[in-house]
Symmetry: C2
Amino acid sequence: MNGTSGRDTGDIGDIGVIEEAELAARLRLVVGRLNRRIRIDGRESVPPLQLSAMVTVEEHGPLRLSELARREAVSVPTMSRVLAALDEQGLVVRTPDPQDARGVLVTLSGGGERRLAEVRSHRTALVARRLGRLDAVQRATLAAALPALEALLEDE
Amino acid sequence: MNGTSGRDTGDIGDIGVIEEAELAARLRLVVGRLNRRIRIDGRESVPPLQLSAMVTVEEHGPLRLSELARREAVSVPTMSRVLAALDEQGLVVRTPDPQDARGVLVTLSGGGERRLAEVRSHRTALVARRLGRLDAVQRATLAAALPALEALLEDE
DNA sequence: TATTGTTATACTCTATAACTATA
DNA sequence: TATAGTTATAGAGTATAACAATA
């Protein structure tokens, strides 16, 4: 089995022949749909953009609001509201930038760190459950594609 | 050529060593972030869920509202509003199900078909532009992973 | 005057609960 | 009574435009 020509199992070998346009179209659709499926939005959970912003702050240290907006690909007003919501829950701390009092630096609070760990594992479990339905070959192709998917995030 | 074990090409085999949990976590994040980046939401465009619903209707023929909600992974009231918005724009037609007058069958209107073609190509172009920044190997890994990504959409 | 953020306004998406119409 | 869908209500995410504070 393992399809030297790849026709039967359809696992790897022959899939690369799809056209660029089809790749783009299918990728666009699957990303939108997968995003809706792994969403949670339960009242006890942190909403998706709020969570994503927290992850970015955790990974990249104190960040300016505008920089965070850029990294999350949302407008500055949108990020301003997201941070206000997170601040209100005590999950982030906004401090004036000592170098430039117009700006704010965002960091996670201790509660934010704890909350992030909880919610992150819960949400990741949703994806892991779906991954568990795939076979090892399919999971390997996903793992192999991950760097390319992440590279797609880069702007220009 | 070959690919009997998948190791021989070298560009796939060795990346699959990341853990399942890390795969799930990174996949979850990248899907959310990529989704925000390929969004458009311009006033002249059809909003994301409306577009996705139109694609599903086009692909799977006349569909019941509840079936459409299931396929798009949203609640019935959410889909009801999406269809009302599409109907108001003349993009879909809702007709009572002749077999059961409680239900409605949704189809694309002629205008819906045309609109879908326009917006779809525009939005796909955004993804294609990002794909163009990748090298051929990366694009091949994405193409190879597409069936697995689509398989992740299936519920149970 | 230019830049950083916030607030005002408006619309999409989202769910749960309450309701209407049909089976 | 049960089911399909709609409407009510409320909250998150979204953008552009107008504003405030600082550089």
